[in-house]
């Protein structure tokens, strides 16, 4: 049989199961298979990036150079950042979208199943190229994940060309994924599923997908300019030829700030699905949640230079970007208040997904507070490029984005596999992660305020104690992720079946299909009343 023949949705009325063998995964156009591929891939990347993080933390366990050379340390921080951002967090969200968006909106599959296959399968190539730079002459990219020129152009190792190529492929993958998600949400909703009835996860992903289409091409543009500067003698960022290294930062952060929201908006969506379920109560302020998400997305285009307060902006520039950034606190606050109001006077139970979701709300809010502090330009001069910033963005990305992904996986895994979770082990994983993440990242606030710059392999003695604490926390957090892997595998192999609804308070189309979700669902569109 040919899998490709059954590509277009609606064509495959015949209810056959998956093909067998490796071909099933290579040629699949099934949204559930592709979602699974994305999720396994992101788990692999999460573990690789995590090993790098542990190497970094081991070097920073004590002052002095012990394990790695400063040059290799820079390669580690760069690769850790790139792999976690582009390899772990983003593909995980795309994987969740692949699995859940069609189920939630009553679509039989994604709108563009073949493109879906490509957008996944080019990713392993991109990351194979990226990781292979570690073994190249001159080493891997060593200029940080923000790759500021001229360190990443005139002063870059030769592997920068491969890095640029890898970024291009990742960008293409993300853009294809985004087009697919938009087309699915706009064109394949079941009858009666109006826009304002969409589950919040779908809404946040729709907005995220538009952000991706707006900014991934800008990232492609900026790396193309780098490529031209390095190989074709142009001077976009080279001051000698009339270019400007600061221009790089503007273009990069024009991509980079929306990118930050690309990594958090779907997390908002997941948490907005989970909290109501375990509060046995509808989400508070659905409409304001949608508007808040949209305003965060729009504002994200107007705040990029808050990453550049020390670069020498004129006073008016500093003020504009400070005010615009502070403004983002308003819609973000609305979201947090809505989540708290959802829990208020509910009937709460604390299964593993709920624990992760609650931890998300608390710890993301802490990350939000430090973000607000960072927005204040005059004090940012003290925080900028210190561990305070490291603490801030790890709070929004680890107990933020990563916890939401784990919450989502624990929440939907019984639906995917048809098997129950081991709640005890799930809770163990949660508490180890929760404690580990805080021991790792909370002391970094103190380190930054005490004056420790980021991206250094060795540090002065007054930073020794908190660094040691952070490293211990990192190992606790890192090794507790093995529990996550165990939990996922255990759930797949378990024999304990679950109902279609799985969780007592769960509502929505995805909970109306049987568990495990059959290979083809919603082949006859459900009616939403």
């Amino acid at each position: 049989m040919s899998t490709m023949d059954t590509a277009a949705p609606g064509v495959h009325e015949e209810h056959h199961g998956p093909a067998s063998g490796i071909g099933r995964w290579l040629f699949t156009t099934n949204h559930k298979d592709i979602g699974t591929l994305y999720l396994w891939f992101s788990l692999l990347m999460f573990l690789i990036g995590g090993v790098m993080a542990l190497l970094i933390r081991s070097e920073l366990f004590q002052p002095g150079l012990q394990l790695v050379e400063p040059g290799f340390f820079n390669q580690l921080t760069t690769m850790h950042g790139l792999i976690m951002v582009f390899g772990a967090v983003m593909p995980a969200f795309v994987g969740l979208a692949n699995w859940m968006v069609p189920l939630m909106i009553g679509a039989p599959d994604m709108a563009l199943p073949r493109m879906n296959n490509w957008s996944f399968w080019i990713l392993p190539f991109a990351f194979a190229i990226l990781v292979s730079t570690l073994f190249m002459d001159g080493g891997a990219p060593n200029f940080g994940w923000t790759f500021y020129a001229p360190l990443s152009t005139t002063y870059a190792p030769p592997s920068v060309t491969y890095f640029i190529f890898a970024i291009h492929i990742m960008g293409a993958s993300s853009i294809m994924g985004a087009i697919n998600i938009i087309a699915t949400i706009l064109n394949l909703r079941a009858p009666g599923m109006t826009m304002m009835k969409l589950p919040l996860f779908v809404w946040t992903w729709l907005i995220t997908a538009f952000l991706l289409i707006a900014v991934m091409p800008v990232l492609a543009g900026v790396v193309t300019m780098m490529l031209m500067d390095i190989h074709f003698g142009t001077s976009f960022f080279n001051a000698a030829g009339g270019g400007d290294p600061v221009l790089f930062q503007h273009v990069f952060w024009f991509f980079g700030h929306p990118e930050v929201y690309i990594m958090i908006l779907p997390a908002f969506g997941i948490v907005s699905q989970i909290l109501p379920t375990f509060s046995r109560k509808k989400l508070f302020g659905y409409a304001s949640m949608v508007y808040a998400t949209a305003s965060i997305a729009i504002l994200s285009f107007l705040v990029w230079a808050h990453h550049m307060f020390t670069v020498g902006l004129p006073l008016v520039g500093e003020l504009f970007f400070m005010f615009a950034t502070m403004l983002i606190a308003v819609p973000t606050g609305v979201k947090v208040f809505n989540w708290v109001a959802t829990m208020y006077r509910g009937s709460l139970t604390f299964e593993t997904p709920m624990l992760f979701a609650i931890a998300f709300v608390v710890l993301f809010t802490i990350g939000g507070f430090s973000g607000l502090m960072l927005a204040i330009a005059p004090v940012d001069f003290q925080y900028h490029d210190t561990y305070f910033v490291v603490a801030h963005f790890h709070y929004v990305l680890v107990p933020g984005a990563i916890f939401s992904i784990m919450a989502g996986v624990y929440y939907w895994l019984p639906k995917w596999t048809g098997h129950a979770l081991n709640e005890g082990m799930g809770k163990l994983h949660f508490w180890c992660s929760f404690i580990g993440v805080n021991i790792t990242f909370f002391p970094m606030h103190f380190l930054g305020l005490a004056g420790m710059p980021r991206r250094i392999p060795d540090y002065a003695l007054q930073f020794a104690d908190f660094n040691m604490v952070a490293t211990v926390g990192a190992f606790i957090f890192g090794f507790s992720q093995l529990l996550f892997v165990w939990n996922v595998i255990h759930c797949i192999r378990s024999r304990e079946t679950v109902s279609a609804q799985v969780w007592e308070g769960a509502h929505g189309l995805e909970w109306e299909v049987p568990s495990p979700a059959p290979y083809h669902t919603h082949t006859t569109p459900p009616r939403v009343e």
Partner: protein
């Protein structure tokens, strides 16, 4: 197959949007220049070329500090002949930078100007500047490079000192953009 048609239309639009945004990334380059000019960001863009004579504001004098910086790998001796000038707005001022090439090879240099505070850049008219062109010097040669400028009488009252810096970059033909990488692969004598 209405759905298929709707899909195709949507894909085309979205693809066009991403191509447009790719172009927008490049459009940011000229936009940035405009932005710099308007806000004085980076002190990059100064007014160049001939300028109409203005009434000299003798009541006011502005300190102009001239700075010279050698970029990496630039061995020339390079500096202003006068490092601090007092200039009345509207006054045409002529000064020079001196450069000499202490090596034994012919080298080509490009000076890149920058003004601080950035807000002052748009009030600094350069009538003639050695930074307009690149400079070539044989090994052992020296040259006085002229700089003629005028400060606009509209310069905001709050600005008392303008710093004008020139960074000298080696742009000799044997030193190209990719030389950096080649050298790292091939090694160099020292």
């Amino acid at each position: 197959m209405d759905a298929a048609k709707a899909n195709r239309r949507l894909i085309i639009r979205l693809l066009m949007a991403s191509v447009l945004m790719f172009g927008f990334g490049f459009a940011l380059v000229p936009l940035y220049d405009v932005f710099c000019k308007v806000t004085g960001l980076n002190g990059r863009i100064t007014a160049t070329g001939p300028v109409d004579a203005m009434a000299v504001d003798t009541a006011r004098s502005v300190k102009v500090r001239l700075i010279a910086i050698n970029n990496e790998g630039m061995p020339w001796l390079f500096g202003p002949t006068e490092s601090l000038l007092r200039v009345n707005p509207g006054e045409m001022k002529q000064t020079a930078y001196r450069a000499s090439n202490p090596t034994t090879r012919r080298m080509v240099a490009q000076a890149i100007p920058s003004v601080s505070p950035g807000e002052a850049a748009q009030y600094l008219h350069k009538i003639n500047c050695f930074c307009f062109d690149s400079q070539a010097l044989e090994g052992g040669d020296a040259i006085d490079m002229p700089l003629m400028f005028m400060i606009d009488t509209d310069l905001p009252e709050s600005i008392h000192t303008i710093t004008l810096s020139y960074t000298l970059f080696d742009i000799s033909p044997d030193k190209t953009g990719t030389a950096e990488n080649d050298a790292q692969e091939g090694g160099s004598p020292i």
